[in-house]
């Protein structure tokens, strides 16, 4: 039996706002430690990982490990219907994920489970020369600034600053932020702006973002809850300039 209750629907809503724009279908895994998902988009450019520990939930029980395969778009359509003061309950029956909103009325949705032939990929490990935190709002603003002139963004970090920049046909943009962290290396990679926008749809998950950057390496972007009970993280393959 599986049952998970959350007093705040926003965590699920914001997570799946991002997840559903990256992958069409996901396999969620539930066990007594909580709920987890790992997924890779069709083009193998973005990897997404979500972990919601059982402590985060107001009520959580999962007697034996369970795989819940759903169409993310269908799930998102349902989550969008949540009101911010609703209590959300997730459960399953034979063939369905059941989402219940408890508010003025008790609203119940059954979302058909789907077949997923592959096993969820395990999160790969990479060693990064830099790791630092920036405010979520700063990153979101930078993306909008860059969007004026370009569809790709260069992210750079050195011992003092974190710099987002772009060179476009009609103009350039450059955003510098003093990060105040101890960073010894310098790192720079370029990414698709559109792909970063997809990740940042999860704007209610956390106020800070942990970034790991390397040179021409995937971006590791992670949103962690203050209580450490939840994490939503992404890995994004870079764009690389040819050497010719």
């Amino acid at each position: 039996m599986f049952k998970a209750v959350l007093n705040d629907p926003n965590i699920l809503k914001t997570s799946f706002d991002a997840i559903s724009s990256i992958v069409d279908e996901v396999q969620m895994q539930a066990d007594n430690e909580g709920l987890r998902l790992d997924a890779l988009d069709r083009s193998h450019i973005t990897f997404v990982h979500l972990e919601l520990k059982s402590d985060l939930f107001d009520e959580f029980s999962c007697i034996k490990p369970l795989k819940i395969n759903v169409d993310t778009e269908e799930l998102m359509k349902v989550l969008k219907r949540a009101k911010s003061d609703d209590i959300v309950e997730l459960s399953t029956d034979e063939g369905n994920l059941i989402v219940t909103f408890e508010g003025e009325a008790r609203r119940r949705f059954k979302i058909r489970l789907i077949d997923i032939e592959y096993e969820a990929p395990s999160p790969p490990e990479l060693e990064y020369p830099t790791e630092f935190e920036v405010p979520f709002s700063l990153l979101k603003d930078s993306i909008q600034d860059i969007d004026i002139f370009s569809d790709k963004i260069a992210l750079m970090v050195d011992k003092d600053k974190f710099i987002s920049s772009a060179e476009g046909e009609f103009g350039d943009a450059n955003i510098e932020y003093l990060h105040g962290e101890k960073i010894e290396n310098k790192a720079k990679s370029v990414f698709s702006l559109e792909k970063i926008k997809e990740m940042l749809k999860a704007d209610k998950f956390s106020d800070t973002v942990t970034l790991k950057l390397g040179n021409d390496m995937p971006l590791n972007l992670s949103l962690k809850m203050v209580t450490e009970d939840g994490e939503l993280s992404f890995l994004l393959a870079p764009r690389i300039e040819s050497e010719e």
Partner: protein
């Protein structure tokens, strides 16, 4: 659409003289089958059949799919179109159950041309020729309209009776069943598919782009799973005063359409371009419907070959070119994709070769384009490549 392109094409069509067929207030003829739904005064539109004062099989008049393979000239095509007489009546787009619209639905589901009789309020006059649509002959309000018995196309009939099938699924089904694009589009435009209560008349112009982009989206979802090609491939085709070059590059899906209009009016050289990266197109293309038509045609070929690639399409239109509708792009690109391709090892040799085939210096195309600038310099990597040495790639397909 870019107002510049609209304005230019308007100028191109303004100076051409065409002559449409002469008919009286009563017309006894054949419909290819063909219907036209205008967009003027939407959501109350002018809808009606197109009938030629001919008998027997008139399919060719409204079947762009066969014009290029059968080597029809621009004059042939214009003559075909100018012999189509358009009857029209004002109809609300939601009135798909009135007698007149039901007759239009019968026409567009037909497998063959249909003998037709029409009475017009006035003698049909003028001709319809503009920068965006496929032209046709004179038109008039239709007062009486009768058609002979109709044999329906099986696949079209099936989606007509399936009132739970979504319109997008219907379009996809018909495409898989190899129903010609123009038949799918006609049936779509008269509200014969989709969930029953959502069926509507759709202006012809919009229905073309709706069908193109619906098919393209479905094909793209399929193509994203295919393996990326290993080299550069160039497909070419020329017809109707146009040259088309389709270059497949070994990257994830991305797409760019760039067209040049050269010396058609005078000394002008105009270039219009639009593109999408891997994530696909958001919002309507600034170059108009031809973007979706071309995208559909190349995706059709990628899906057929079970390959994935980035696609760069260049088109040049030369003196003598007449805008006859987006079929020109769709059918030329389809024909290009059916030719044997030339293979190249790298981007520079493929571009050098294209440079030798086009009339405009390639630099001018590059200047107006985005992907053509970017592809030689930038590459979107995939996550797969970051695990090749260290650990077993957890993403490899098993």
């Amino acid at each position: 659409m870019i107002s510049g392109k609209d304005f230019y094409l308007k100028k191109l069509t303004a100076h051409l003289n065409m002559k449409s067929v002469e008919v009286g207030k009563e017309l006894n003829g054949s419909t290819p089958p063909s219907v036209f739904i205008g967009s003027w005064k939407y959501p109350k539109v002018y809808a009606g059949p197109m009938i030629a004062p001919l008998h027997g099989d008139t399919k060719i008049l409204d079947m762009p799919e066969s014009w290029i393979p059968e080597h029809k000239t621009q004059e042939d095509i214009i003559n075909y179109r100018m012999s189509l007489v358009r009857g029209k009546q004002p109809v609300k787009i939601t009135e798909v159950n009135n007698n007149f619209v039901e007759k239009l639905q019968e026409i567009s589901l037909a497998a063959d041309s249909i003998e037709s009789e029409a009475e017009f309020g006035n003698k049909p006059k003028g001709l319809y020729f503009n920068e965006r649509d496929t032209p046709f002959g004179p038109s008039a309000v239709i007062e009486k309209f009768d058609i002979a018995n109709v044999r329906w196309d099986h696949a079209l009939e099936k989606v007509y009776y399936d009132s739970d099938l979504k319109a997008s699924e219907a379009v996809n089904y018909l495409h898989i069943q190899n129903v010609p694009f123009s038949n799918i589009q006609k049936a779509f435009s008269v509200g014969t598919m989709g969930v029953k209560k959502r069926r509507r008349l759709v202006p012809t112009r919009w229905s073309i782009t709706a069908c193109d982009s619906t098919i393209a989206d479905i094909l793209l979802n399929e193509v994203r799973y295919h393996d990326i090609i290993g080299s550069y491939r160039l497909y070419e085709f020329s017809s109707l005063n146009n040259y088309y070059a389709v270059l497949l590059v070994p990257t994830l899906w991305q797409f760019e359409w760039t067209e040049a209009f050269l010396h058609i009016l005078g000394r002008e050289e105009l270039i219009f371009s639009d593109y999408e990266h891997n994530e696909g197109k958001k919002g309507y293309s600034r170059v108009g419907g031809c973007y979706y038509t071309c995208k559909m045609a190349v995706l059709e070929a990628l899906a057929r070959e079970k390959i994935q690639a980035g696609v760069i399409v260049l088109r040049e239109a030369y003196n003598g070119y007449v805008p006859l509708g987006v079929f020109n792009v769709r059918e030329n690109v389809r024909n290009a994709m059916n030719q044997p391709y030339t293979e190249f090892e790298d981007i520079n040799t493929s571009l050098a070769y294209i440079g030798s085939k086009i009339r405009l210096p390639l630099e001018k195309f590059i200047k107006e384009s985005t992907l053509l600038k970017e592809i030689p310099r930038w590459r979107q990597t995939t996550l797969d490549s970051f695990w090749r040495n260290k650990q077993k790639n957890p993403f490899s397909k098993s």
